[in-house]
């Protein structure tokens, strides 16, 4: 085993200052067989992202309605949704959906830990819920990308018990890998960034294989001819797997070389600084940038970003807000909380616009994605989860019609389930499920 190969690999393990990588389309030739011009383009990957805000919105200013002048005119938006005005044609505002299991169980954690699963949550020390929609998608689709999903947050998770006797872990985690464990959430932008571009897990495996391979070669030298045959089988398997990892890395480098001198084709982003950003505005923007970059370069197709956790302690001095998030939400009709609500909406608008600015074929990355904004309550003062604020942006490569205001509020409970929406979205992403959470059928009229 050449020492130089070892060294170069190890240098990469430490993380580079800037990572550059190719957008999905441009990177294709080096990943698969080299295609020639004129061959039909492969289907664009469909991506799904959830942005989560907690403790409700200002209900007076959080609305959208169809334009009175007809369906060809852009929808009208309330004050808090104003940041989305440039995007109305790619937007759906969906009103009236809810999780039955998040009602009648007490406030906060019981309304949050199941927002993406619809599960009935367990009280007390032992956690119990169900796999969330993003992780189900990640399990089915994630093997095609370097990371099966990104699970990010802008506020540290907490545990402990809420007065409802639900664990506070439910307030901190919306993404669950199974009934008992949440997905570890990355709050450090630098580490989230590294997970995409260094592919640390694969490199650690490469290092392990390198070592066991070298070690087995020594053993082989001592072995008789018979035994060598069996050890060779092992050694060649080790080398084969090692090479596959190596090939991926080479492919990336090759991609980089292809566009040298053509820098505008590159997606690039400086590596964020270590540690947590001091300013929450920087934190949220960096996390949105990472999701956008990950989608554009097809490092992952599934992401959740917890902008704040439930019972959040975030402060917004730049919004002239004196109270922390949770306290402010108890006065949810205030101007202060309107500003906070609008600020969160602007994060959604930021990510959507960013994706919409990324050309991909004839359309944009946003056109091939569905990003969903969701909140665990309608009203923070009433702690009401009979319906939740929800919007989507992006058309999932033509699978999801946009520019609509959909209202399910007057429908019977069975026809306005969040889990039905999740089923619809999963189906449109090519993951067919018979049932999910408390839903047996997809959302009608989506």
């Amino acid at each position: 085993m050449a020492n130089s190969a070892k060294v170069s690999r190890r240098v990469l393990l430490q993380g580079a200052g800037v990572s550059m990588t190719l957008p999905w389309l441009q990177s294709l030739p080096v990943w698969g067989e080299e295609p020639t011009n004129g061959i039909e383009a492969p289907e664009f990957p469909k991506r799904f992202c959830v942005l989560f805000m907690a403790c409700g919105v200002n209900p007076d200013h959080w609305w959208a309605k169809p334009n009175a002048e007809g369906p060809n005119h852009p929808m009208e938006l309330g004050k808090s949704l104003a940041p989305l005005e440039p995007l109305t044609s790619k937007l759906n505002v969906i009103n009236g959906l809810f999780n039955k299991n998040a009602t009648g169980v007490g406030i906060h954690p019981g309304q949050t830990g199941n927002i993406l699963s619809g599960a009935s949550l367990k009280k007390g020390a032992e956690l119990g819920g169900s796999i969330s929609v993003d992780q189900l998608l990640a399990n089915r689709l994630g093997s095609e990308t370097i990371q099966s999903s990104l699970v990010l947050g802008c506020e540290q998770p907490v545990t402990g018990y809420h007065e409802t006797n639900f664990s506070m872990a439910y307030s901190s985690h919306i993404s669950w890998q199974n009934a008992t464990s949440p997905v570890p959430m990355e709050v450090y932008p630098a580490l989230a960034f590294d997970s995409l571009f260094e592919n640390r897990g694969a490199r650690r495996n490469q290092s392990v294989l390198d070592r066991v391979g070298g070690h087995a070669s020594e053993l082989r030298r001592k072995a008789s001819l018979d035994d060598r045959r069996k050890l060779d089988e092992y050694l060649s398997s080790v080398r084969d797997v090692e090479q596959r990892i190596e090939q991926q890395r080479k492919a990336q480098e090759k991609a980089k070389a292809r566009v040298d001198g053509n820098p505008y084709a590159m997606a690039s982003m400086p590596r964020p600084d270590n540690g947590l950003p001091e300013d929450i505005r920087d934190h949220m923007r960096l996390m949105c940038d990472i999701v956008a970059l990950a989608f554009q370069t097809d490092k992952t197709r599934i992401a959740t970003l917890l902008l704040c956790r439930d019972i959040s302690g975030l402060f917004y001095p730049f919004l002239d807000a004196r109270n922390a998030h949770h306290s402010a939400s108890h006065n949810d009709r205030s101007d202060e909380f309107e500003r906070i609500s609008r600020y969160y909406c602007s994060q959604f608008a930021y990510l959507a616009s960013k994706l919409d600015g990324m050309q991909e074929g004839e359309g944009t990355v946003l056109d091939h994605s569905c990003i969903m904004f969701i909140n665990n309550m309608w009203s923070g003062s009433a702690h009401n989860s009979q319906k939740v604020p929800l919007m989507t942006a992006g058309g999932l490569n033509g699978q999801l019609k946009t520019g609509r205001v959909l209202d399910f509020e007057q429908r019977p409970d069975g026809e306005r389930k969040l889990c039905s929406l999740y089923m619809s979205l999963m189906n449109r992403m090519g993951v067919n499920v018979e049932k999910f959470g408390d839903a047996d059928f997809p959302l009608m009229d989506l």
Binding site: L127, T159, G160, M168, S224, L225, R229, L231, S237
Partner: protein
């Protein structure tokens, strides 16, 4: 006439295997030609070869030889020793007149026939003697999937079975998946090994004393909490804290003393499974009339009632002890002191005050505080409790009453430990508090644990138990970083949800700030916090509580930080010990150094964290050939060498446990005495009684008897047999394993496979069999039924698993069932059926006028069919009383009455499975035993048998007969044989041909 034959898929499968094996054998034959034994060669040339030429080769040659047997390949004497199993078959077929077939063009005379068979037999025998004891080639090989699972289980203590995701291991010629001949490695499989190793590393926990593995993945804080909290709660749950048990045991002690029996308190404590320490205290107080005992108060009452316990009638005593316990608990709960601390401006559920309150409660669990008497709601209590707590008005009596209460409270704490706590600070009674908050400190919204078990530690636990509990609590802080998280929660809560820290002066103490937990910042915050509290007119108690809080949490945080640094070396040492075990003795000191170097390079060059580096070390170990292979390397030549002691230990444990050697076996190996026959036999005795011998029952049993894949068996029509659930299928699968584990552990006669009068059933299987079992609380529990009501069950033959697997769904299959018996139990080789035989209907209700029996009879009228079917159809017909899922029946699905009579291959007649048992025991016992010996030997050696093993087989048979057929006779014959104790390499010729 229409020939109606079953096309039995596994017959065809068998043929495919056999034909492959011929090719394999031929490859070997060429390698074994030597110049010796010219005379024998002459007889081969003069007698055997002409016989083959005239009578056999016409059909058995060419591109499509009959029975896929090409006899032109056998052209010299050595071919008899290499293709010995084929030659055995040839010899038997010729001897019985079965071959050449009647329609053949030429037939040998009887003399020719006798001469031929005699010659074949004696030549084989000569060869067997000449080669006896050859260890053969046993290649380096990876662990089979089952061995891999079991080894990981024994290594880590958790049963993850990651190989469930691996492809199924192929079997070798002998039918077992544990040989280098069949166990290959591929990149796809290696990727799965890597994923499995990573999965295991997700279960790794670094502890202050080493490493541990959790039964669930530990990647988030909640996972770590779950692991540590559960261990403490489990520890509490198993403590003997029921006072009734102590009163009862103390009574026993009193009786022993008065009756003059010398029974010690220690013995009584052990018998009652209670704490000697606490029993001693209770006995001293209750049974000591002249101590400073009080005459007035609850303790006096308890003592009197205890002294009044009758000397006989233990069940009455027990009832009275329980009632006395209830009295104690009821009285005691009224005397529990209440503490609370509040200050306007600080949240009631804030950490400093809640912890103060918890500390007060925890340290007063054995104290009597007279103010508690004032709060007793006498009018709401049952009268006996109220009376017991009534303070006498007389001054002297009152003093004595208080002294009694002190002693009472001291002996009986209000709780031995508190395993869960809701928001106690709200002042609601315990029964109305939130449930399930295990070990919680009881803060508002914030996480935090609180240890409250002083009485348990002071009164119940012995020194070792106390040490264990202390370690568990240390582990909780260490593993979950609880103090750090608790402090971060404090910063979040008091800054946002509560607003104590909202002032600008506290801005530095934000939970996002990594430095906020530093000693310096904690001190700074403590000072500012106290200043503000003073401004809010806090009392000295308040200020002390706040001071204590900051002091304690700082100390705890520092402990976590420092002990985590300190533990790094301990963790690394633990990984080294882990590697020694994982390599099963095959670790050299230079390898050990390499491991340390690798750790250093992971830390220093790759910049991994300590935990990541340890994880990668672990993955490395689990990926290395020393772990996932059996690497007892052979020599470069055909020379034999004894296995080293460690190699022998491994061979033994993978034979008997399908898993790694345990510490004791390795110690025996290290002592260098394992090879001594008595030591080796002693280890066999120990190991076959160990629970891990289940590995042998499953791996050997399920492959020998062909039910390894039964859990995937899906050809039962569940609409017609709704009782056939996944769970019943699982029970059917378990039955032979239970049976064999018992046979092995109890060292029963191997003949009990055929004639056992007992069976093992759980509730589900008992119902399926119509067996009435003793009531058992747990329906999944297995029990041995010795007194079977009739002979329908007992032994392997009528087990539902075999009946079901060898039936196509809506009818039985006498062909398959009979074939299973002769092939699996008796070791017969049956060639495949000719192509193009029509299928029988799948449903026996659609057979028309004929029964299945008659249909098969018709089929056997064809001579070419009869050649084979005569050998097993009748055996299968004896099972006709068992339906398609092994249920007992008297009518078939076509409503025709069952006829289970049979005329067995030797002409004997019998009825049902009883008749079959008799036939097998009387006429086929030696076939059964020989086959079992061959199978077990092939499994033990991990290779296909050779002619050189014939003498060992003979010895195994002789030993079995001499030892009343006890199982261990076979095992001991194997492990003491040179085949097991030695190994060799290939000679040049073999190697060349093999490559």
């Amino acid at each position: 006439m229409q020939a109606c034959v079953e096309s039995v898929s596994d017959l065809h499968f068998g043929s495919a295997l056999t034909s492959r094996s011929y090719v394999f054998l031929l490859a070997w034959i060429c390698g074994f030609i030597t110049a010796e034994s010219v005379n024998a060669e002459d007889s081969f040339e003069s007698s055997i070869r002409p016989f083959l030429k005239y009578h056999c080769i016409e059909c058995h040659s060419g591109t499509a030889p009959e029975g896929k047997l090409d006899l032109t390949a056998f052209e010299n004497r050595q071919s008899l020793s290499i293709g010995f199993s084929v030659w055995k078959e040839i010899e038997q077929r010729v001897a019985t007149g079965n071959m050449p077939p009647k329609e053949a063009s030429s037939h040998p005379s009887e003399d020719d026939r006798r001469a031929f068979t005699h010659l074949v037999r004696s030549t084989r025998r000569d060869e067997a003697v000449r080669l006896a004891g050859d260890p053969g080639i046993v290649m380096v090989r990876r662990l089979s999937n089952a061995e891999y699972n079991n080894t990981l289980r024994d290594l880590t203590g958790i049963d993850l079975r990651p190989a469930r995701e691996f492809p199924v291991d192929p079997a070798n010629e002998a039918g077992f998946d544990n040989s280098g001949e069949s166990l290959a490695m591929s990149p796809a499989l290696l990727t799965k090994y890597l994923a499995a190793a990573r999965e295991i590393s997700n279960h790794l926990i670094l502890t202050p004393s080493g490493i541990a593995f959790a039964p669930h993945p530990v990647v988030t804080d909640t996972d770590r909490d779950k692991y540590c909290v559960q261990r403490i709660v489990d520890f509490y749950d198993k403590q003997p804290t029921d006072i009734a048990d102590y009163l009862h045991a103390a009574w026993k002690a009193r009786i022993a003393v008065t009756s003059g029996k010398g029974v010690s308190l220690e013995t009584i404590a052990i018998n009652h499974r209670i704490s000697l320490r606490y029993l001693t205290s209770i006995f001293a107080v209750l049974n000591n009339p002249d101590s400073e005992s009080t005459k007035n108060g609850p303790l006096a009452e308890v003592r009197q009632r205890w002294l009044d316990l009758p000397n006989q009638d233990e069940s009455a005593v027990r009832r009275e002890c329980e009632s006395l316990r209830n009295f104690i608990v009821a009285v005691r709960s009224q005397l529990e002191p209440k503490f609370n601390m509040k200050l306007k401006g600080i949240h009631d559920g804030a950490q400093a005050f809640v912890l103060w309150k918890n500390r007060q409660s925890a340290s007063h669990r054995r104290s009597f505080l007279s103010e508690t008497l004032k709060a007793i709601p006498y009018d709401k209590l049952p009268s006996d409790i109220a009376i017991a707590l009534m303070t006498p008005s007389d001054d002297d009596l009152r003093t004595e009453f208080h002294r009694d209460l002190e002693l009472f409270c001291n002996l009986f704490p209000d709780a031995f430990f508190v395993a869960e706590r809701g928001r106690d600070y709200l002042g609601v009674p315990k029964e109305k508090q939130e449930k399930g908050r295990l070990l919680s400190a009881g803060f508002h919204s914030m996480m935090g644990y609180f240890r409250d078990d002083q009485p348990l530690c002071e009164q119940i636990l012995n020194d070792n138990e106390l040490l264990e509990l202390n370690q568990l609590w240390q582990e909780l802080d260490f593993v979950t970083a609880a103090p750090i998280r608790q402090y971060q929660g404090f910063l979040w809560f008091e800054r946002t949800d509560h607003n104590f820290l909202r002032d600008a002066e506290f801005d530095f103490a934000r939970p996002e700030n990594k430095d906020a937990i530093s000693a310096e910042m904690v001190k700074r915050l403590s000072d500012l916090y106290l200043e503000k509290a003073k401004r809010m007119s806090a009392t000295s108690d308040h200020l002390q509580a706040i001071t204590d809080f900051f002091h304690d949490i700082d100390k705890q945080i520092r402990w976590v930080e420092q002990s985590r640094i300190h533990a790094q070396k301990i963790n690394l040492d633990a990984i080294e010990r882990f590697v020694v075990r994982a390599y099963r003795g095959g670790l050299t000191s230079s390898q050990l150094n390499e491991i340390k170097q690798y750790y250093t390079s992971l830390r220093e060059i790759d910049k991994l964290s300590h935990e990541e580096a340890i994880q990668d070390l672990l993955v490395c170990v689990l990926m290395s050939p020393e772990f996932c292979y059996r690497v007892d390397l052979s020599l470069q030549s055909a020379e034999r060498r004894p296995l080293t002691d460690l190699e022998l230990a491994n061979r033994l444990s993978y034979f008997l446990w399908s898993s790694m050697p345990d510490e004791r076996l390795l110690a025996k190996a290290s002592s260098g005495r394992l090879r001594e026959p008595s030591v080796l036999a002693g280890e066999v005795d120990r190991m076959i009684r160990d629970d891990r011998v289940r590995g042998l029952a499953i791996e050997f049993g399920s492959q020998w008897l062909d039910f390894q894949r039964f859990l995937e068996h899906n050809s039962v029509d569940r609409l017609r047999f709704p009782q056939f659930t996944d769970s019943l299928r699982d029970s059917m699968y378990q039955e032979p394993i239970r049976f064999l584990v018992d046979l092995i552990q109890q060292n029963r006669s191997v003949l009990s496979c055929i004639d056992a009068k007992h069976a093992f059933v759980n509730a589900e299987l008992a119902k399926h069999y119509g067996i009435v079992t003793e009531d058992s609380r747990d329906s999944s529990e297995w029990q041995k039924v010795s007194e079977l009501p009739n002979s329908q069950r007992g032994g392997l033959l009528p087990m539902a698993v075999f009946m079901t697997q060898n039936a196509p769904g809506l009818r039985t299959s006498p062909v398959k069932r009979g074939y299973w018996v002769v092939r699996r139990l008796l070791g017969e080789h049956i060639p495949p059926p000719p192509p193009g035989v029509p299928e029988l209907p799948v449903d026996e209700a659609r057979l028309g006028d004929l029964t299945l029996r008659q249909t098969l009879e018709k089929h056997r009228q064809h001579e070419s069919c009869a050649v084979c079917h005569d050998r097993f159809d009748s055996i299968g017909l004896a099972f006709e009383s068992y339906g398609p899922i092994g249920e007992h029946r008297i009518h078939d699905l076509g409503e025709k009455p069952i006829d289970n009579s049979a005329v067995f291959p030797n002409g004997n007649a019998g009825n049902g499975v009883d008749g079959l048992r008799e036939y097998l025991l009387k006429c086929r016992q030696s076939d059964f035993i020989e086959n079992l010996c061959r199978k077990l030997l092939a499994f033990a050696l991990g290779r296909t048998l050779r002619l050189s093993d014939d003498l060992l087989i003979e010895k195994m048979r002789e030993d079995l007969i001499a030892e009343e057929h006890r199982f261990d006779a076979m095992v001991k014959a194997i492990v003491l044989a040179p085949q097991f104790l030695e190994k060799r390499g290939t000679n040049e010729k073999e190697t060349k041909d093999g490559e």
